[in-house]
């Protein structure tokens, strides 16, 4: 009934086509995974792979089950997740606020830019021992590490996103005599939001890395500490099991933020991303 004028829906059939290809590719991916695991298992059983270097998948699997059944895992997991999420929220908040402040004033941007470039160039992991010295063996040092390492992706994307408002939209708001506040909240910020979310996705993974690295350097609890301990005890099955668990958690966090991204930024054109 409403399709009286111009029609705009060749997109629909195209996405169906993409879905078909994707399904076929997903099957192939799973097949490849099974193949690799089988080869790994066989190579371990016939003694080509030393169990201290690479324990067999079945060994890793049973170690994973064993760890998941133990209560101490959740204690350490809780600590690491707390550090990660606290670091992520504080780091992202600071990144977005500072990104907005820096973008709002060209002079400030030019003055601060050299500092930003230098701080960005610092390999943040190298700061971990310093943070332990400053904040001790507790979670604070790890949170600070997570903040430091997850700050930049969101910060840079916030600045780039706020700059990406096109000239004609600015002119439109100008011609409508928009106040600065309205231009920011109704134009600049929503325009920047897809960029900010892309930054947040990287930042979340980075925050987890920050927390783990912090725990490596000095901690009495957390998954990083547990990894270090098992490695020291040559419990290789459990070391790999922890890596599996960490990967699953990182994946879950990523899926969560991706879901949020799709919910909040429903208008973004994602066809090009696949």
């Amino acid at each position: 009934m409403k399709a009286t004028l111009e029609k705009a829906d060749p997109v629909q059939s195209k996405s169906g086509f993409i879905r078909k290809i994707f399904k076929k590719e997903a099957l192939l991916s799973i097949a490849l995974l099974v193949l690799l695991l089988a080869a790994w298992e066989i190579l371990s059983r016939i003694g080509v792979l030393h169990p201290l270097i690479l324990p067999a998948p079945t060994v890793v699997f049973s170690a994973t089950l064993e760890l998941l059944a133990s209560s101490f895992l959740y204690l350490h997991l809780g600590v690491t997740l707390y550090e990660t999420i606290a670091g992520f929220f504080i780091g992202s908040f600071l990144a977005i606020i500072l990104g907005i402040v820096v973008s709002s004033n060209p002079t400030l941007y030019k003055v601060l830019n050299p500092f930003i470039v230098v701080f960005q160039a610092i390999p943040k992991i190298a700061l971990a021992p310093i943070f332990v010295t400053w904040f001790g063996f507790g979670p604070t040092a790890k949170i600070v590490m997570a903040i430091t390492i997850c700050f930049f992706p969101t910060f840079v994307n916030t600045v780039v996103g706020l700059k990406s408002v096109d000239e004609e939209s600015r002119l439109l708001f100008q011609s409508l005599v928009a106040k600065k506040k309205d231009t920011f909240f109704k134009l600049s910020l929503p325009t920047a939001l897809p960029f900010i979310f892309a930054g947040l996705k990287s930042s979340l993974t980075f925050a987890l890395i920050g927390a783990i690295v912090g725990e490596f350097v000095g901690a009495n609890e957390g998954i990083g500490m547990l990894l270090d301990t098992f490695n020291f005890q040559l419990e290789m099955g459990k070391v790999y099991a922890l890596i599996v668990i960490l990967s699953i958690i990182a994946l879950l966090l990523y899926l969560l933020i991706e879901w949020l991204d799709k919910k909040l930024i429903f208008w973004a054109d994602r066809d090009n991303n696949n």
């Binding site: 111009e6 011609s175 005599v177 309205d182 134009l187 929503p190 429903f266």
Partner: protein, 268 residues
């Protein structure tokens, strides 16, 4: 003394013009030197007139439109709307651009409400207006669509409706249908002519399409480049409302050929 008297006399004679552009210069600073883009522009527009600013790229026609809309300041000269100097964007003026610039996170309805929100207008009154305006631009029932669900032509119709939301006296249109295909463009041109004639609004249209300018306008201002200056202001004395039939008349083709001559296009 006599100069002052003359000037006052001129002003009195000009009082029935809605827009007065007098001896406008505009230059932009580029690196060390200033580049003049508009030189000695004069133009008077009566309320309800349909004016086209026609010329090749770089003739400063968009710059002139932005000056009238208060989005830029002239380097020198006098620019007035209803006898008042233009000091910035005004509510008497509605702008429309080559791109529809709809906000993708807002529905058609929310996009149309934007000008009202920004000017702290009455949203309820505006909501009642939306239905009428959508009907006017031929998109009745599309309130809850998102821009990405609409074609380019439909988006420009919404953009036109948004320009009309605040009911401005003057429409400044910067190649509004320039990015659309020929057929959609023609359809929208006729819609625009209808709207202009029915509403009695003043329209200033920037275009580089000669036949479009002649067909639609009461007056075509032909601009040349380096720097932008008025080659000739031509009154199009073809009665309105104009239909396709106009294009078959000798009068119409004479205007078109004359402008082609002025701009030096085509093979002689």
């Amino acid at each position: 003394m006599s100069i002052l008297v003359n000037d006052a006399l001129d002003r009195n004679l000009e009082t029935n013009y809605q827009i007065e552009i007098h001896n406008i210069y505009k230059s932009f600073d580029k690196r060390d030197s200033a580049v003049t883009v508009l030189e000695n522009i004069n133009l008077n527009v009566r309320a309800g007139e349909f004016i086209s600013l026609l010329g090749p790229s770089g003739c400063g026609k968009s710059t002139l439109l932005k000056l009238i809309g208060g989005l830029l300041d002239q380097s020198s000269g006098r620019l007035e709307i209803d006898g008042h100097a233009i000091t910035g964007p005004s509510k008497k003026v509605g702008f429309m651009f080559q791109k529809a610039v709809l906000l993708p996170w807002r529905t058609v309805q929310q996009n149309l409400l934007l000008p009202i929100e920004l000017s702290k207008g009455n949203v309820e009154e505006a909501n009642a207006r939306i239905g009428q305006l959508l009907e006017l631009v031929g998109l009745k029932g599309y309130e809850h669509y998102y821009p990405k669900e609409l074609s380019g032509g439909m988006q420009q119709r919404i953009s036109l409706a948004r320009t009309l939301m605040t009911d401005p006296d003057i429409l400044l249109l910067d190649e509004p249908f320039g990015a659309l295909d020929e057929f959609t463009r023609e359809t929208l041109n006729f819609s625009l002519m209808d709207i202009a004639e029915q509403s009695g609004k003043t329209v200033i249209l920037v275009t580089h399409n000669i036949s479009e300018a002649v067909l639609m306008s009461d007056k075509v201002v032909v601009l040349g480049i380096n720097p932008g200056h008025v080659l000739e202001t031509i009154d199009i004395n073809i009665p309105k409302p104009r239909t396709d039939q106009v294009m078959a008349t000798k009068q119409y083709s004479e205007y078109v050929l004359h402008i082609r001559d002025l701009l030096g296009v085509g093979r002689k």
